[in-house]
C-alpha cells in the first residue's frame, strides 16, 4: 500500500531531472541551428541527376596534344611544364622489354619522333592521355585537413581554392599525380572535368577539341550517353584498380604496362 505513492514520487522526480538535463543539449542544438546565418550560395544547384565520367580510347589517341593546350587555355593553368590538369604520356616498349615513358611538356606541343627509335626495335608504342580520375573513393578528399577538396553529388572532385591552406597533403595522396600547387595562389589545383562548362551544357575543353574522339564524355547512369555506348562495345579498364579508388576515368585497350 505505502510503497506505491513513494514509487510514483521517485519516478516523477527522475522524469523531471531527465527532462531538465535533456533541455541542455536540445538548447545547444537549437542554438547552433539558428545561430549562424544560413545563406545558400548563388547557383549551387548541385543535383543527383548527373554522374559524370570520361572514357579514353587509347587506340584512337594520336598524341597531338590539343587537349593539353585547350585545358591550359580554358582553365588558365600556368604554362610552365610542371602544371597540368591533363597531359599525354607516350609509352614505348622496346623489343628487349624495356618500357620508356616520356611526355615532353606534357604533350602540349605534340610529340616528335624519339631518336632512339631509329637504332632500337620498337615492339609497340601508344599514347595515354591522363587527368584527374575523379575517384568515387578519393584519397585526396580523405586527407584534406580542412575540407577544401570534396566530391560533389555529381561525382566531380573539386578544390575550394578560397578555403585551401596549401598544405600539399592531397598532392602527396593522389596515386595518379593529378594535382599540382598553383604557384600564384599557393593552393592545390587539378582537373574539374571543366565543371563550369558542364553547368552550361558544354563538354570539357579537352573533349571538345579532341580530333579523333579519343576522349568520350558522358554519364554513367544514363542509357543514352556516349559513355554508355562505349561501355557496351568495349571492355573498360581503370588505372591502378588495386588501390580501390574506384576511378571514373575509363580506358579502352589499356596495355598492362600503363601505370
Amino acid at each position: 500500500m505505502g510503497k506505491e505513492p513513494s514509487g510514483h514520487a521517485i519516478d516523477e522526480t527522475r522524469r523531471r531531472l531527465i527532462c531538465e538535463l535533456a533541455k541542455l543539449p536540445a538548447a545547444t542544438v537549437l542554438l547552433s541551428l539558428t545561430g549562424p546565418v544560413r545563406a545558400r550560395a548563388e547557383g549551387d544547384e548541385e543535383t543527383d541527376e548527373h554522374h559524370y565520367a570520361m572514357g579514353i580510347q587509347i587506340d584512337r589517341c594520336i598524341g597531338c596534344g590539343l587537349c593539353v593546350e585547350a585545358c591550359k587555355v580554358e582553365n588558365d593553368v600556368p604554362d610552365e611544364p610542371f602544371y597540368f590538369r591533363t597531359w599525354v604520356e607516350r609509352y614505348t616498349i622496346y623489343e628487349d622489354g624495356e618500357v620508356v615513358v616520356d611526355s615532353p611538356h606534357g604533350g602540349r606541343d605534340g610529340f616528335r619522333p624519339r631518336s632512339e627509335d631509329e637504332e632500337r626495335r620498337v615492339l609497340r608504342s601508344f599514347f595515354v592521355p591522363k587527368l584527374c580520375n575523379h575517384c568515387d573513393n578519393p584519397p585526396c578528399v580523405q586527407v584534406c585537413p580542412v575540407g577544401a577538396t570534396f566530391k560533389t553529388r555529381e561525382g566531380v572532385v573539386l578544390v575550394d581554392s578560397d578555403y585551401c591552406i596549401g598544405c600539399r597533403y592531397c598532392i602527396q595522396a593522389c596515386p595518379y599525380g593529378a594535382r599540382y600547387l598553383d604557384p600564384r595562389t599557393k593552393t592545390a589545383d587539378k582537373c574539374t572535368f571543366c565543371y563550369h562548362r558542364l553547368r552550361r551544357g558544354l563538354l570539357p575543353a579537352c573533349v571538345e577539341v579532341c580530333p579523333t574522339q579519343a576522349r568520350v564524355f558522358g554519364e554513367l547512369e544514363q542509357q543514352a550517353s556516349p559513355l554508355h555506348r562505349l561501355k557496351r562495345f568495349e571492355p573498360l579498364h581503370v588505372l591502378k584498380p588495386e588501390l580501390n579508388t574506384d576511378p571514373k576515368v575509363f580506358y579502352t585497350d589499356l596495355d598492362g604496362v600503363v601505370r
Binding site: 505505502g2 510503497k3 513513494s6 514520487a9 521517485i10 522526480t13 531531472l17 531538465e20 541542455l24 538548447a27 545547444t28 547552433s32 545561430g35 549562424p36 546565418v37 544560413r38 545558400r40 550560395a41 547557383g43 549551387d44 548541385e46 589517341c61 594520336i62 598524341g63 597531338c64 596534344g65 590539343l66 585547350a70 587555355v73 580554358e74 582553365n75 605534340g110 610529340f111 616528335r112 619522333p113 620498337v122 608504342s125 601508344f126 599514347f127 575540407g147 577538396t149 570534396f150 566530391k151 560533389t152 573539386l158 575550394d160 578560397d162 578555403y163 574539374t192 565543371y195 563550369h196 562548362r197 558544354l202 563538354l203 575543353a205 571538345e208 577539341v209 579532341c210 580530333p211 579523333t212
Partner: protein, 257 residues
C-alpha cells in the same frame, strides 16, 4: 520506507540539486563559447551539402568559358561547317585549329580567331610517329613536299588529297619499310591484299582484302608448288597443325630477315 519518503519530500522542495544547477551553468557557458568560436571560424555554407563549403561550387561554376564549342561556330559559319561536316575533318573541332573563340562569339568584331597556315600546325597531328594508331594519315615531313605549305594542296576544311596516293607506302609507311628489308621485299602489296580502287580515296569504307586460308601461302611455300627454287617449303598437311600461317609468322617480316 522512511528514508524513501524523506528523499521524496526533499526532491519536491528543491527540484534541481544545486550541483546540477552549477554544472548546467558551466555547460551553458561552454556551449555558448563553442557556438561563438564555431560561428567565427566555420564558413557560412560549410556542411550544408557535405564536409565542404557549399558556396565553393557556385564560385567554381561561375568561371568564364574560353572555348565556345563547334555548334556556336556553325551558327554563323554554316557554309564552312557544311563542307567540314562531309570531310575527314568532321570530328575536328573548329577551335582545335583556330584557337579558343568564345570572345569572338560574344563580339565577332572584337577579336578574330587565328588562321594557322604553317606546316607545323598540320604536322602536329599528321607527322609520322610510330606511336600513332595504324591507318591514321601521316606523312614524313622531310619527304612529303618539304618546302610547300600544306594548305597549298589540301583544303583544311576538306583535306582529302587532291591526287590519290599512287603507292601503298604513302599511308602504310611502317609496313612498307619493314617489308622492304624482309625476304618478302619483292612481293607487291596487291599480291596478298587485293585493294578496291576506292580504297585510295576512302580508305575506311573500302578495305583491302587479306588472305584467309593456309593454301594462300601454300601457293609458294607448299611442297610441289611451282615457285622458284630456294623458297622455303613445308608440308602443309603436317606443318603447324591447326594454326593459320600468320598466327606464327609475320608476313611482312618473315623469319631470317
Amino acid at each position: 520506507m522512511v528514508g524513501t519518503q524523506h528523499g521524496a519530500t526533499m526532491a519536491r522542495r528543491r527540484r534541481i540539486p544545486g550541483q546540477l544547477v552549477r554544472l548546467g551553468i558551466l555547460f551553458a557557458l561552454l556551449a555558448g563559447a563553442l557556438l561563438y568560436v564555431r560561428g567565427r571560424f566555420v564558413p557560412l555554407t560549410f556542411g550544408e551539402l557535405g564536409h565542404y563549403r557549399a558556396a565553393a561550387i557556385g564560385t567554381l561554376a561561375a568561371q568564364s568559358i574560353r572555348f565556345a564549342g563547334m555548334e556556336a561556330c556553325a551558327e554563323c559559319h554554316d557554309d564552312v561547317a557544311a563542307v567540314k561536316q562531309r570531310s575527314y575533318h568532321r570530328g575536328l573541332s573548329c577551335e582545335g585549329c583556330h584557337g579558343a573563340a568564345s570572345a569572338h562569339v560574344e563580339d565577332p568584331l572584337a577579336s578574330t580567331p587565328a588562321i594557322p597556315k604553317e606546316r607545323q600546325r598540320c604536322l602536329r597531328c599528321h607527322r609520322y610517329l610510330a606511336s600513332r594508331p595504324t591507318g591514321f594519315p601521316q606523312v614524313l615531313e622531310r619527304v612529303h613536299h618539304p618546302v610547300k605549305a600544306c594548305v597549298e594542296c589540301h583544303d583544311p576544311h576538306d583535306p582529302a588529297p587532291p591526287i590519290p596516293p599512287s603507292e601503298c607506302a604513302a599511308c602504310h609507311g611502317a609496313i612498307a619499310r619493314t617489308k622492304a628489308v624482309s625476304h618478302h621485299w619483292s612481293l607487291d602489296c596487291e599480291q596478298c591484299h587485293a585493294a578496291p580502287a576506292e580504297h585510295r580515296q576512302n580508305p575506311r569504307a573500302f578495305l583491302p582484302k587479306k588472305p584467309t586460308e593456309r593454301a594462300f601461302c601454300g601457293q609458294c611455300h607448299a611442297r610441289g608448288s611451282d615457285a622458284p627454287v630456294g623458297i622455303p617449303r613445308v608440308d602443309l598437311a603436317e606443318h603447324g597443325g591447326r594454326y593459320l600461317c600468320w598466327q606464327c609468322h609475320y608476313p611482312h617480316a618473315p623469319e631470317g630477315g
